[in-house]
Symmetry: C2
Subunit: 491 residues, 2 copies
């Protein structure tokens, strides 16, 4: 024997990664189940691609660089090829479509739930691993395909638990923005980005602030000066007119936009697409309240080639401290016609919508739509003696057969600790089966839900006690009915 | 413009990784949903740990080596720490339990579905990424906890679709094996491994082959000689007697085992555990056919410290070419009391069961239990003209509202190609809505299921045609009923 201390690693998850427990997982699974059902009903089929892609296929690898750039987790396979964990579900879809294009039924509608990884600096609430849910149609250039994606997003969010009216999908078109930039006399790419950044600040700075940023520049409260886009007065008017073009309904908005940018070829093409999207949305039963045209939406411009979508939560929500907060975007997407062409050289039209599952779960929680089920524990059967284990298991089996989750306590502690355990597990009830009960063919049931309600003041003690006793001994045959009464009681 | 050819990456998934399509994914999801429900009903809560763990926490990192060993995908974080993708769900559970032990309700029952990665040489059917489903109880040393895990495995496999009697959980105990080895006079670790390897070959070589391997050694048909364990005649008798100790029921098997190894302290402890497991299995309603004691089960010996389990498919299955094959193990587990101690130095008892989700899906398919739903496509609405798109969408909406998946064709091809598309999608029906139908308030429905059945000879053409026409024009109000008749028709 040596006296060496054995190596003991520290037990901790890697930086920026988190363990997730029942409450979060149940909420997210219920979203995925509901959304998956809706997406399947629209003819979208599930597809799962690997966690890894070759780094060149992800577009995160320049042929002359010696390793993939920051932002992805990458490693070299034993044949020296660089692989990287996917950072979204769109790049793998483009790779899959390019690889299988000849044999796919076209258009190809697919949805995917999947983990994605970002090799970014972790921080509070900023994780390097999360789950996305995407739906895309590859191989249809029709605006109706965009409209269908929007209808899908609306139906999916509602199926996940957001009440009608709690969210809106805002729609814009990259082509309108390009038409606008032409109309506004934008010359360089730098000027274009400055204009788009200015428009993106409309919510925060208002029209006056944006006007300054479109022209010479703006000094903020601290005295810092931001150089503007340097547009002419006419150019500024065009851009501002565009951003406030939203009207009472989709048709009015289109007419307003046409007045501002009408005449440019790309702008007209964008308007035609939006008017076909409008018609298709009507056919798909998507109301004016569920999907609006909104010229102020600016989204991932390097990537999208046509219509862009942004789903926004409208419900007033509160943060952890109960203060009202604007929740903002809960998902987005758009048309991207160039991603498959990276592989094949041939343009393949594609359009899609994506949301982060944890973020939608947080939105539902903030909107008070979390189901009570998420933190519900099983009924706990107290274990008194080794000899009676078979009786305890048999009670648990009866409850399970009736659709009620149940477990026998299998630790080594006494009665009091077992009750504490049951309470911490969120058990609705504890079942006690001592020697007397077994001999008499009865069970004693303690209503733990009631205890929790009384302690939070959700129930009036005296009034309730008469019809819902905190603890009762009932014939074994009445066990299931009694527990069901507790589970069905007011929460 | 330069004449440079743009860089075009090849579209391919990394070696050993696969894309998975609807049929497989639907089958696996249906397994996970059913199994998850059963595990929750036993009081097991879901837990999700990150894809990455620190390499030292996975036990894949020796403090004096300069990188994690083969078998895991590992990379260095920007703070120089080595992280590796998890290769199973047990090591992350041990890390989680060690990290949160003070605050966990104990015993802690958790289940997990998760992707795991193995950095191994890929080959046909050998993938480097797959999904596991685990259930474990941490913090209970009671044999009843092992019995509960076995009951869970039995109930989970049946809920996933295996009929009663299609699988059996075989149970052994590491302590019995140790007792046996003592009784057989085994001295060294090398001798011990040779004995266990010999026992593991019982199925393939029969008792005569195993007898040779336990003694001096065995020459196979090709003339190759395998050196034996070198046991004495008495030792060989003990081991062989042990391997054939399985009796008609669990109690008989225990009595048989006791006769072979009775007397060794560790063997007696193992027998006592199994007899308590037997009693608990009775209480849990697990029949003799669903779970057996089988002394020939040898499983992951470095890892397990007590009872070990192996779930075996009993159904006769056929391979891709229709030849009968023995499917073998579909999952396994056991008690491991030392994993948490790696971190904390304090032993924490734990027991669990794990199965590979794709492997169970393959077993269900081999057993003819795949549901028809897995490859079912949506009803396809043929798109004739741009102008009538809203009508097509409205028909699709009606079908979806009735719970029937439906999609409007959104590609650019003509009628014939659209019909071919619908067939390739596995659509049960195609709906045609030309100008005449729209004017008359009717729809024409083509029964594609019938076409497929006729082409495979599953239906008698003439007899069936009278009551199920291949194509019909019906009033719009009868659309849903007509399609439901197709979906409900004999498959």
């Amino acid at each position: 024997m040596t006296a060496e201390t054995p190596f003991r690693p520290e037990a901790r998850a890697p930086r920026g990664f988190q363990d997730r427990r029942a409450r979060d997982l149940r909420a997210e699974r219920s979203i995925l189940e509901a959304v998956g059902k809706v997406y399947e009903s629209y003819g979208f089929e599930p597809l799962d691609t690997p966690a890894f892609e070759y780094a060149d296929a992800l577009g995160k690898f320049l042929p002359d660089a010696d390793r993939p750039n920051e932002g992805v987790f990458a490693l070299q396979d034993d044949d020296e090829q660089w692989m990287a964990l996917r950072y979204d579900l769109t790049a793998p879809l483009a790779r899959f479509a390019a690889e299988t294009w000849e044999t796919l039924p076209k258009p190809f509608r697919r949805y995917a739930f999947g983990t994605v990884w970002r090799n970014e600096k972790p921080g509070p609430g900023r994780f390097r691993e999360f789950t996305q849910c995407d739906a895309d149609t590859v191989g249809s250039a029709r605006p109706e395909a965009d409209a269908e994606i929007i209808a899908l997003a609306v139906a999916g969010l509602e199926a996940a638990g957001l009440p009608t009216g709690a969210a809106v999908v805002k729609i814009n078109n990259r082509k309108l923005l390009n038409g606008l930039l032409t109309a506004a006399g934008v010359q360089s790419n730098g000027q274009k980005l400055a204009v788009l950044r200015a428009v993106d600040k409309l919510d925060r700075l208002g029209p006056e602030g944006v006007q300054l940023l479109l022209g010479e520049g703006r000094k903020d409260e601290s005295g810092d000066f931001t150089k503007g886009a340097g547009l002419s007065a006419k150019g500024i008017d065009a851009v501002l007119g565009f951003t406030v073009a939203a009207g009472a309904d989709r048709a009015t908005t289109l007419a307003n936009i046409a007045r501002v940018i009408g005449g440019s070829e790309e702008g007209d093409a964008g308007l035609l697409e939006l008017s076909r999207i409008d018609a298709a949305l009507k056919g798909l039963g998507v109301s004016e309240a569920q999907a609006k045209f909104d010229p102020s939406v600016v989204r991932g411009l390097e990537y999208y080639t046509g219509p862009v979508f942004e789903a926004e939560l409208l419900l007033q929500t509160t943060d952890d401290k109960g203060r009202p907060q604007s929740f903002g975007s809960i998902g987005g997407g758009g048309r991207y016609d160039d991603l498959v062409a990276r592989f094949t050289g041939e343009s393949v039209p594609a359009t899609g919508f994506s949301f982060g599952v944890s973020r939608l779960a947080a939105a539902l929680r903030a909107a008070g739509r979390e189901t009570a089920q998420a933190s519900r524990g099983p009924v706990v059967i107290i274990a008194f003696t080794e000899a009676d284990m078979a009786h305890y298991f048999s009670v648990a089996g009866e409850l399970r057969a009736a659709g009620i989750a149940a477990e026998v306590y299998l630790g080594g502690s006494g009665m009091k600790a077992q009750m504490k355990y049951a309470d911490r597990r969120g058990a609705p009830a504890a079942v006690m089966l001592g020697g007397d009960e077994i001999a008499a063919g009865t069970v004693t049931i303690k209503d733990l839900d009631l205890g929790r309600e009384l302690s939070t003041g959700a129930q009036d003690n005296a009034a309730w006690k008469s019809e819902r006793p905190g603890q009762a001994t009932v014939p074994r045959a009445d066990l299931v009915a009694f527990v069901k009464r507790i589970l069905g009681g007011p929460q």
